[in-house]
């Protein structure tokens, strides 16, 4: 039986290092190629040796698909393609293709230049890797080869994020990547049609969370920023350059405008400024409202938000600063944090998830004394706030997506095992479909039962559809044809055509049965009685009395002759072909019972 096999190399019951192998109808596809922020050793990348022990990845994989530009979905790509070696196609959307190399370069710089690692991918490798990328449009059907096609759907989450449908024949898998089912300030909601895949592979970061309304969180955020600024404090918001940064900038920009606030807002230069350019140029990927009004007012041209210079950090008075990176593990955000941490008037707002080991994670878990480089102890007096602005679907959203796509099976990745377990039960209860949650390296096999498409000759189909013009549910019409299987083509034709095509002659098998009837009357009277009898019994059939004295029932012929010896007995010759076997057999047994003693 045809089957689909799924093996997560990363993101199996885990967040980070997303990398999922799918085998469908003889095609092998790798979904995402991410890195893990929690590791600095071999475990940061997926174990590609799992794919093939000996032999080239290019020979084994038909294509690689990257869902969006976050490093836990694309961070291992140059390693995979240039160091392990893969030359096949890599698919991603245009914005992802634009932004992905910049984040990879940034990641490389931090790893090699700051941490001094060697044996890491180089800038040239990133460039060479990106040359293998084929950009796809939303909803475009990309023919990877003759059989394998993929199609991208809008996923929200970040600029250019997409869900992908992978299809071979009538079997299909949908991979969601990370998605968001509610529109936010700059992106729209994920959307998919009722494509009824055999399998839906969904992220499940917020598998157990039903989030409160976004408005509440936004109000909360603005209130905290406002209060801090009002009392003369400084607000630090560590962000990653692309994604939440833009959403929070829009939020603050409109708030400042409305409240007529004067305190400066800065974002750290470099990436974020560049990022805003991407948002401007890829505005068709943002939400309806921004797209509609961008000519009058481009939401990514900020009036109140200005570029940051490191000297500003020592300026007196209130200010708000967006700085990278988002987990306070290095760079400008950490520098500013060290400067401001000692003052209880200040505040740091962490708008997203922080991986263990980072300063962000430490202060969020309540640590107030941090050991910095050189054994220096940093005492944190500033206020620490956590506010989730990650754009992942919550439990409600995941259920909603399942309802939209109507998959036959669901498989959960990109989440924590305990939470997945809960969601899995919920999905199985509500949708009565199987739900899987394999760990890394564990293979899930799903059996599909595809129907087989064949070519039917129009003659045969028309014959059948015209016969059954008025479809009767109770008495379905049987259709009879011959399936010709030649090479890989399947054609259903009428038996006559099949014989003709194969150059075979039909062999006619005919039966003629002698039925003896006791009837002293003249032959033609006997015939008339037979005719009336049959006519009475076989109401649904065409019974005809021909001028030459014979009777036909459909194509069965009945003739009467006198018995050569016994004048009181008539012999009925009933003649039919094998195709009318059933009716012919029925007629002989009917006639054998004799004619009813009619008074006529």
């Amino acid at each position: 039986m045809p089957e689909i096999k799924v093996t997560p190399l990363g993101a199996g019951q885990d967040v980070g290092r997303s990398c999922i192998l799918v085998s469908i109808a003889g095609k092998n596809v790798m979904l995402d190629c991410g890195m893990h922020m929690g590791y600095n050793d071999d475990r940061r990348f997926p174990d590609f040796s799992y794919i093939t022990q000996n032999g080239r990845l290019t020979d084994f994989l038909d294509c690689v698909i990257i869902s969006h530009f976050h490093l836990d979905h694309c961070g291992a790509l140059p390693y995979f393609s240039e160091m392990v070696g893969y030359d096949g196609p890599i698919y991603m959307t245009h914005p992802t293709k634009a932004i992905c190399p910049i984040l990879l370069e940034d990641y490389r710089k931090i790893t090699v230049d700051k941490k001094g690692e060697t044996n890491f991918f180089t800038s040239q490798m990133i460039k060479d890797c990106m040359k293998k990328v084929v950009a796809v449009h939303l909803h475009q059907t990309v023919q990877v080869d003759e059989e394998l096609e993929i199609k991208a759907y809008y996923a929200g989450h970040v600029l250019g994020a997409a869900m992908f449908q992978i299809k071979v024949g009538c079997e299909s898998v949908v991979y969601t990547g990370d998605y968001n089912m509610t529109p936010d300030r700059h992106l729209g909601a994920a959307w998919i049609d009722k494509c009824r895949p055999d399998l839906l592979i969904s992220e499940s970061t917020y598998a157990t969370t039903i989030r409160d309304s976004k408005r509440c969180r936004e109000r909360d955020f603005l209130k905290k920023v406002h209060e801090t600024v009002e009392r003369g404090g400084k607000v630090l918001i560590p962000v990653f350059a692309l994604g939440r940064a833009q959403e929070l900038c829009i939020l603050l920009e409109t708030f400042w405008e409305r409240m007529n606030l004067k305190a400066p807002i800065y974002f750290s230069t470099g990436l974020t400024e560049k990022a805003n350019h991407y948002y401007k140029l890829f505005i068709t990927w943002t939400n309806q409202k921004i797209r509609k009004t961008f000519v009058q007012r481009n939401m990514f041209e900020f009036k109140h938000i200005k570029a940051f210079d490191r000297a500003f950090a020592d300026n007196p008075g209130p200010m708000v600063v967006f700085a990278t990176p988002g987990m306070l593990h290095a760079g400008q955000s950490l520098q500013i944090f060290r400067k401001w941490a000692g003052n209880e008037k200040n505040m740091v707002i962490m708008p997203g998830y922080c991986v263990q080991g980072t300063v962000g994670h430490k202060i969020l878990s309540g640590q107030r004394k941090l050991e910095m480089e050189g054994r220096q102890i940093l005492e944190v007096k500033m206020q620490v706030e956590y506010m989730s602005f990650s754009a992942h679907a919550d439990a409600k959203g995941i259920m909603q997506l399942i309802r939209q796509a109507e998959p036959r099976n669901v498989l959960l990745v990109h989440g924590e095992a305990k939470k997945m377990e809960f969601l899995k039960q919920k999905i199985e209860q509500e949708f009565h479909v199987s739900c899987y949650m394999p760990a890394n390296g564990e293979t899930t096999t799903i059996f599909t039962n595809p129907s087989i498409p064949v070519d039917i000759s129009l003659g045969l189909l028309k014959r059948e559809t015209t016969i059954g013009l008025v479809p009767d549910v109770k008495k379905p019409k049987l259709m009879h044809g011959t399936l010709i299987m030649k090479d890989n083509s399947f054609r259903l034709v009428s038996p006559e055509q099949a014989l003709k095509e194969l150059g075979l002659a039909e062999h006619q098998l005919r039966f003629t049965c002698r039925v003896h009837i006791q009837d002293p009357r003249k032959e033609h009277e006997t015939v008339l009685r037979v005719y009336n009898h049959l006519k009475g019994v076989l109401k649904d059939y065409s019974v005809q009395h021909l001028p030459d004295g014979s009777i036909t029932v459909e194509s069965i012929l009945i003739q009467a002759t006198a018995h050569s010896e016994d004048q009181g007995t008539k012999v009925l010759l009933v003649s039919w072909t094998y195709q009318d076997e059933e009716l012919g057999s029925y007629l002989t047994s009917l006639l054998k019972k004799g004619l009813p003693q009619s008074t006529a």
Binding site: L281, T284, I456, L458, L483, L499, R514, E581
Partner: protein, 658 residues
């Protein structure tokens, strides 16, 4: 497969294709050449135009002098300009299921179709097509509505009257079909019926037909369309270009293996080379400005203007024009310039690469930043303060009948220092200029039409090899003004089928197969037999279900088990329910082996007689006779059903079933 041709204009097509029970309209072009018969609509009161004499018939009657004015020997209708709509009577347009739009120039009649014919279907177009199409419509509506005209002339349209008019009014066709411009609410209503699509997106229509837009290389978001079922493929090629300008290149490969290729929207200026024209444009512009004159470029607010601005961007410094202001005046100028920068995915490779940097794909962003290019919604307001001469003005409409261009024609027409450069190929420039004559200003004609020329067409057709080509009749003969140029026509084998306005063509094609799905449980029950090496057969008896034009074969339902306690049945209860179908038989019966088999099954008195065509096998005791010939077997017996069935099954053993 039928094609209803609603427009006679080869580059502004409107055809309806009936394909497998779906009715598909291909484009919605609006023929605006009719406006050339009207007087221009001046934004500012024009003493010259208002003083034009009324037209007087030869016999001196003056009843038309309010409607028709004379200018330099030409007669114009003094009324709100009107457009020539596609045929609306050839078929009931409310039956149209979908409308496919190929580019923003070919959707200008959309509001007339969607708002006036009872249309309830869906329109499909790409996002750039819709956005820029909206801008073109907005500009059109705006430039006509802002100059309200008190009178609407209709007397001249009377057939009896029209006969008396001078050419070209006398020969104007379908004047009863001419209509005034639509309104913004109608535009919005029409555009709300559009569903956005991307290149290579497969769109299912009623399960019967799949349509797919392909990049056509002509304009931002411009598409050709594939309309196909599993077995037939119609390609609709409309407005395509093989030149490398700003849009994504044309997708030719996907047009292969078409049964029918409908070819419209070829270049209107087959003899002009677009690159040469751009060069001439630049040099004429530079010369005029250097001599202290102004340059007027009548244009659409999107399309070629992007390429012209890009050329000028590279040209102005070297030509010493850095201080000459460029003005782009249109109610949608700003929107057009902004929109052009956000459609990275629809641009050629070079421009896409710029976006990845990230930089704006078109250099006009820099022209605006450096104040070399300024844009204004109209000549009123800011423009009048900033206006400096000599300058270059890009503005619409190319017909010179409405829009801000009318003002500049009136303003600059009297001086021979100034130049008007025609780049848009849609209107004859001499006709466009007629109501401004006599004119001192220089006129330069540099039509830039990047659409396919005939050499490219014949190369394309050789490449994609359609079985049949259908095109407007204009393409099947040389242009009327160059009748000796037999190279300026579509040349292919078999010769193209041509159409003209209001014609209905039956397209040649023969369908022999349809797709059907065999359900897995039915497939499992099939028993394939290898008949010849590599060819297997299986007989299929199944129930056919057809829903939404999709066919599915299922296992026949098992006959319900008769209830255990049998009541006494009437005879008729036994009548076979549905007509059972037995397979066809093939093969022949070897007599010797057959006789052996009979004997093995207990028939001891078998006798064989030879006949002319075969044999007769006699079972004497059973009074049974079996005639065996090459292609037939006839069993003649008494009414002994067990015997007959036994013989039947023995015969069947020797035959193959189909």
């Amino acid at each position: 497969l039928k094609l209803y041709c609603l427009s006679g204009h080869p580059t502004l097509p409107c055809n309806v294709l009936k394909f497998k029970s779906t009715t598909i309209m291909l484009d919605c072009g609006l023929d605006m050449t009719s406006t050339l018969n009207f007087l221009p609509l001046p934004l500012v009161q024009s003493p010259r135009l208002s003083k034009l004499p009324g037209w007087v018939l030869k016999d001196g009657s003056t009843f038309l002098d309010k409607e028709l004015k004379e200018c330099s020997g030409h007669v114009f209708v003094d009324s709100v300009p009107e457009f020539c709509l596609p045929e609306t009577e050839l078929l009931d347009l409310s039956t149209v299921d979908v409308i496919l739009i190929s580019n923003y120039h070919c959707m200008m009649a959309l509001p007339y179709i969607t708002e006036y014919t009872g249309f309830t279907g869906t329109v499909y177009a790409t996002e750039p097509t819709v956005q820029i199409g909206r801008l073109l419509m907005e500009e059109l509506v705006n430039s006509i509505e802002r100059v309200p005209k008190a009178q609407s002339a209709s007397m001249w349209k009377n057939k009896e009257v029209q006969r008396l008019l001078p050419t070209p009014l006398k020969d104007a066709v379908e004047v009863s079909m001419w209509r005034k411009c639509y309104t913004m609410p109608e535009v919005n209503a029409a555009l709300s019926k559009i569903q956005l699509v991307g290149y290579s997106q497969k769109i299912e229509l009623f399960g019967a037909v799949q349509v797919t837009p392909l990049s056509s290389g002509y304009a931002l978001g411009s598409s050709n369309w594939i309309i196909q079922s599993h077995y037939e493929k119609v390609s609709y090629v409309s407005g395509s270009s093989l030149l490398t300008t700003h849009p994504q290149p044309m997708d030719q490969a996907s047009l292969k293996n078409s049964d029918v290729l409908i070819l419209t929207g070829l270049t209107q200026i087959p003899t002009a080379n677009p690159d040469g024209m751009v060069g001439e444009f630049c040099s004429n512009l530079a010369m005029t400005v250097r001599n202290g004159g102004n340059v007027l470029v009548p244009c659409y607010p999107s399309g070629v203007i992007y390429d012209l601005l890009e050329c000028l961007y590279q040209y102005i410094d070297s030509a010493g024009l850095s201080n000459v202001p460029f003005y782009f005046i249109s109610p949608v100028a700003n929107s057009s310039l902004e929109f052009s920068q956000i459609f990275a995915e629809w641009l050629c490779h070079n421009k896409q690469t710029k976006v990845y940097l990230p930089e704006p794909p078109f250099p006009h962003a820099e022209l605006i930043q450096t104040n070399k290019l300024k844009h204004y919604p109209s000549i009123h307001g800011d423009f009048s303060n900033d206006f400096k001469q000599p300058c270059v003005v890009f503005t619409g409409h190319p017909s010179l009948r409405f829009g801000d261009v009318v003002h500049f024609m009136e303003l600059w027409g009297k001086s021979s220092l100034n130049t008007v450069i025609f780049t848009e190929p849609d209107f004859s420039y001499l006709d466009a200029l007629a109501p401004y004559q006599p004119l001192a200003m220089k006129c330069v004609y540099c039509p830039i039409d990047t659409r396919l020329n005939f050499i490219q067409v014949s190369k394309l057709l050789k490449e994609v090899q359609p079985l049949h080509v259908v095109c407007p009749e204009q393409y099947t003969q040389p242009p009327p003004t160059q009748s000796h140029r037999t190279d300026l026509m579509v040349d292919c084998q078999p010769p193209p089928m041509s159409y003209r306005r209001a014609e209905v063509l039956t397209l040649p094609y023969k369908r022999r197969y349809e797709k059907i799905e065999i359900m897995p449980d039915l497939a499992d029950s099939l028993v394939p037999l290898e008949i010849k090496p590599g060819i297997s057969l299986a007989t299929v008896s199944a129930v056919l279900h057809t829903k939404d034009n999709k066919h599915v074969l299922q296992l026949p339902p098992k006959p319900p088990q008769p209830p255990a306690s049998k009541k006494r049945k009437r005879v008729s209860d036994d009548v076979p329910e549905c007509k059972p179908l037995k397979p066809l038989l093939s093969g022949s019966i070897p007599v010797d082996q057959f006789v052996q088999t009979l004997e093995k099954h207990g028939f001891s008195d078998v006798k064989v007689e030879d006949t002319a065509k075969g044999h007769i096998v006699l079972l004497q005791e059973a009074e049974t006779l079996i005639q065996i010939e090459e292609d037939s077997t006839h069993i003649i017996c008494d009414n002994d059903e067990p015997l007959r069935v036994k013989l039947r099954d023995l015969v069947l053993k020797f035959l193959q079933k189909f």
